[in-house]
């Protein structure tokens, strides 16, 4: 174990946590407000990445500019999916909800495979892609830093929205008491629609950024669904506020394992899955 | 063996909330033992501790002389503990007979399938469900569902039968039938422990009554003794002034003071 890599690992972990928080907070929104555990969440992320890629290839759009186009596009996609399917299983057994979103995920992923093929796609030739600077021997890339800042701003924006706007209050009311919210005249169905669209939008924006950081393939989605689950589960299902801390924990664990354990890179994903598994099993045994 | 069911200092807390506080009682063989109290008094939690759906925080529970405090539900059942639920919970996707057969087949060790079918038929007949045996449970009405609860519990061949508000929502005639059923069960030597809100039923059935309030024992004795206990009257009357506990509780309070007129005999109100 090479401890001289520790500062770098910590910085990388912290920078990665922003994106994780952004993706997870969308999933937590769907779970907390609508009560739908969305297995297709990571696919919104993937769609965001490939839309940005297509905008770049077709029109030469800078990913920063693409954010402005991807956001409404994903909101519309999310809304359409809600209206055409999710809406009908709100009261269905949990199994049906889960399998429905699982099926939607399969459709989105394979649609992307049909359109873009299975090869990894990169948004190359962005002027700032290789930009970076060194602080005390720790290198910080402009892109990871930028995505960290943008993600945190978006998450903070969501928190502010939930805390201080009528829409946010409506969402919290619905989350706490579906029947009661209906009684005080909130249109629960519309709140759900907006929450689901917002959830897709946030994931899609995260996808745009991953398109610059990595070279995603259309199958990247499920992995991020699971990573988001790990974070949401760690924060406690439906706990939107706890997401940032959980994302930081998970991102740091991942980064530390990848850097400090020999051949640790292959273990990257295992960290997430081990966390999900252990946390779920441990919690289930504590209750009784 | 002087008691078939013995609870010693049973307590259960959820987080900081104490639902059952240091409850002790014994039920003798062939006794009908009632547990009453206002809503939220911890009666159903106590029943859940007895049947094993919850594990007590402290205390000890013996069934037929065996320590069952930490025993899983299915083993308590096979030892001789049957239970009918307050909120009827039939297995969907099964017929009436299939529901009862589950209890008959698994409620005791080593039951052959022909013996299980015999026991199921017997339980169906006793509860008057034999005509409905091939109906899907989704088609049953409330009275029939309550009967199914009792039939399933009886099919497990219990020595102790726990009944959780099986009379609630029944019309007087139906309740009388149910009372006869419970008496018949007791006459076979089965101990019955039941939670009930309908006071005339408690009066008619119970050999002894345990009154709970706020998770703890408030009084114990015969029906006449507990209903004349000023603390009991206060606990029931008190709730009527309390807005947050309106509804069913106040109905209970009324039924303590003025039992419905179709039943003769002393009412709690007159006793108090």
């Amino acid at each position: 174990m090479d401890l001289s890599l520790l500062p770098q690992a910590i910085v990388s972990g912290v920078l990665a946590s922003g994106l994780y928080a952004l993706v997870s907070v969308g999933l937590a929104l769907a779970i907390g407000v609508i009560g739908i555990v969305n297995f297709a969440h990571g696919e919104f992320f993937m769609v965001g990445a490939f839309l940005a890629y297509q905008l770049f290839v077709s029109f030469g759009f800078d990913p920063l500019l693409s954010l402005l186009f991807v956001a409404p596009a994903l909101a519309v996609i999310g809304a359409l999916i809600y209206l055409s399917s999710i809406r009908f299983v709100l009261r269905a057994p949990e199994l049906n909800q889960m399998l429905l979103t699982f099926g939607i995920g399969i459709i989105l992923q394979n649609l992307a495979l049909l359109i873009w093929g299975g090869d990894p796609r990169t948004i190359a030739n962005v002027p700032y892609r290789s930009l970076g600077f060194q602080v005390a021997g720790v290198s910080i890339g402009a892109v990871p830093l930028g995505s960290f800042v943008i993600s945190l701003l978006l998450v903070a924006g969501l928190y502010w929205m939930l805390a201080s706007t009528p829409l946010g209050r409506a969402m919290r009311a619905v989350a706490q008491n579906r029947i009661g919210a209906g009684l005080v005249g909130l249109e629960v169905d519309r709140v759900y629609l907006v929450a689901f669209a917002l959830s897709a939008l946030l994931a899609g924006l995260g996808g745009v950024m991953i398109g610059v950081i990595q070279s995603p393939t259309p199958t990247v989605g499920l992995g991020f669904t699971l990573k988001a689950f790990a974070i949401v589960v760690l924060a406690g299902l439906g706990n939107i506020r706890g997401i940032v801390g959980a994302a930081l924990t998970v991102a740091l664990a991942e980064s530390l394992v990848a850097t400090l354990v020999p051949n640790g890179d292959a273990l990257r994903n295992m960290v997430f899955f081990a966390i999900i598994f252990v946390v779920l099993v441990w919690r289930s045994r504590r209750v009784a | 063996m002087s008691s078939v069911l013995r609870a010693t200092g049973l307590s259960k807390s959820f987080g900081g909330l104490v639902a059952v506080k240091d409850v002790s009682f014994e039920a003798a063989p062939g006794e009908i033992f009632a547990i009453i109290g206002p809503n939220g008094a911890g009666k159903t939690t106590l029943l859940n501790l007895i049947s094993g759906l919850l594990t007590p925080t402290t205390g000890r529970l013996e069934l037929l002389g065996t320590d069952v405090t930490a025993m899983p539900t299915y083993r308590r059942c096979r030892l001789g503990l049957g239970r009918a639920f307050q909120v009827v919970q039939p297995f969907p996707e099964m017929t009436v007979a299939e529901n009862v057969l589950v209890g008959a087949q698994f409620g005791s060790e080593g039951v052959s399938s022909s013996e299980a079918r015999r026991r199921a038929d017997q339980a169906l007949e006793r509860t008057g469900l034999d005509r409905l045996r091939d109906q899907p449970v989704e088609d049953l009405n409330l009275l029939q569902e309550k009967r199914l609860e009792i039939a399933r519990a009886l099919a497990t061949q219990p020595k102790v039968l726990l009944l959780d508000e099986v009379m609630a929502g029944l019309r007087p005639g139906e309740a009388r039938q149910a009372v006869e059923l419970v008496r018949g069960v007791r006459d076979e030597g089965i101990t019955v422990v039941f939670i009930e809100h309908v006071m005339p039923v408690v009066r008619d059935l119970a050999d002894r009554v345990l009154v709970m309030d706020h998770g703890a024992e408030l009084a114990r004795g015969t029906y006449a003794e507990v209903t004349s206990d000023p603390r009991v009257v206060e606990a029931y009357l008190g709730v009527e002034d309390d807005d947050s506990r309106a509804g069913e509780e106040s109905a209970d309070a009324r039924s303590v003071r003025e039992a419905p007129g179709d039943d003769a005999g002393a009412t709690a109100g007159r006793d108090a």
């Binding site: 555990v37 399917s85 009908f88 299983v89 269905a92 949990e94 199994l95 889960m98 399998l99 429905l100 099926g103 939607i104 399969i106 459709i107 989105l108 992923q109 394979n110 649609l111 992307a112 495979l113 049909l114 299975g118 499920l222 699971l226 689950f229 051949n263 292959a266 994903n269 295992m270 997430f272 899955f273 081990a274 779920l280 099993v281 289930s284 209750v287 009784a288 | 094993g52 759906l53 899983p72 539900t73 299915y74 083993r75 059942c77 096979r78 239970r83 639920f85 919970q89 297995f91 969907p92 099964m94 299939e98 589950v102 209890g103 087949q105 698994f106 409620g107 005791s108 299980a116 497990t156």
Partner: protein, 353 residues
């Protein structure tokens, strides 16, 4: 017990049909029978996969770990022949056994997890297992690249007495019979569950585990039993697949696709029945073949659409649909319903009896 006898007789008839199917295809289609036979084999694989998943689902455990058990079976075979010179047919039962033991372990720690939590935990388990296998020493498990596996059948070309394509036919026929045997094993297990006290116990645990316990059913035992039976069959299947494909790799053996197929098929065909998964597999194998010919990648979209459509429009699957049609048809034009759907409905009706 009359029901059990009838089911077993039907299974035996089905088995005989499977034994003669290759010869019939060969007589009718000649050279083209090679590809028909592999399509039929795919349907068998899917049916075994689906039926084994359904057995577990009958206890309410909606597993996303099915790939872990087929993968465990496949790797057992691969590692066995890499390290030892074991007899060729030993790997398959061993694969089933390893998968069953693994299931016992996973099942024990997930006993208290329900619904969505169980699903997520089992999916996570699969990914951990995949990563762990990848991390095993290359000399044992071949790392990310995987290991080669010997073939079960190596028919040799005899010039003069046979044609070239017949070599491929004989190979396919061998695997077809092995999978047919697996399916019969799976069907017999499934029928025995459905025709014994286990059916009521499984259903009780699925629909209300707490009440099942109060009625004397031991939920932990039932859930573990289902897990072991289901994974044993899945392990056998994975082991045979390893032989047929000739190699295993972590990404292939533990692919999420396997899990997707395992759960979509019974949902499409009809959950908690013996016939539903088989019916679903037959239809889906045909759809998949068609899509595969059209698209090289992304053909799984068909499964996604089938899954979404099944949930939204056909919650009881093909079997449920068929029995509904029969009920409706029975009222107006009795006896005019085709044999296949009639049989399905009978089975569904029997299932309730």
């Amino acid at each position: 017990m009359r029901g059990l006898t009838r089911d077993l007789v039907a299974t035996a008839a089905f088995a005989v049909l499977l034994v003669f199917l290759p010869s019939v295809l060969r007589e009718v289609f000649g050279r083209a029978s090679v590809s028909y036979l592999s399509l039929a084999t795919n349907a068998l694989v899917l049916a075994v996969l689906a039926l084994s998943w359904d057995m577990l689902a009958r206890t309410g455990q909606l597993s996303l770990a099915h790939a872990a058990f087929t993968g465990a079976g496949a790797y057992t075979v691969a590692v066995l022949f890499k390290l030892t010179g074991a007899p060729l047919w030993l790997g398959i039962p061993l694969g089933g056994l390893v998968a069953a033991v693994l299931a016992l372990g996973l099942g024990s720690v997930t006993l208290r997890l329900f619904g969505i939590y169980f699903a997520i935990a089992t999916l996570a388990f699969t990914e951990v297992l995949k990563a762990a296998v990848q991390r095993l020493p290359t000399a044992v498990a071949g790392g990310a690249a995987g290991i080669n596996v010997p073939a079960l059948f190596r028919p040799t070309f005899v010039a003069g007495s046979m044609e070239r394509w017949e070599v491929a036919f004989l190979r396919n026929q061998g695997y077809f019979w092995v999978y047919a045997g697996l399916l019969v094993v799976a069907v017999v297990i499934s029928v025995l569950i459905q025709r014994s006290r286990l059916r009521a116990a499984f259903t009780a645990v699925r629909t209300n585990e707490q009440v099942a316990g109060v009625m004397g059913v031991n939920p932990a035992r039932m859930k573990l039993l289902a897990f072991v039976l289901s994974s044993f069959v899945a392990g056998l299947l994975g082991a045979v697949e390893a032989h047929r494909l000739g190699s295993v790799s972590p990404d292939g053996a533990f692919s999420v696709h396997t899990t997707v197929l395992a759960l979509v098929t019974p949902i499409f065909g009809g959950l908690y029945t013996t016939l539903g998964p088989i019916l679903g597999a037959t239809v889906l194998a045909g759809i998949e073949e068609t899509l595969k010919r059209t698209f090289s990648e992304g053909y799984l979209i068909g499964y996604g659409i089938v899954l979404v459509a099944s949930i939204l429009f056909m919650p009881r699957g093909l079997v449920g649909l068929a029995s509904k049609l029969v009920k409706r048809g029975g009222a107006s034009t009795s006896g005019r319903v085709g044999g296949a759907s009639g049989g399905a409905a009978d089975a569904a009706a029997e299932e309730r009896a």
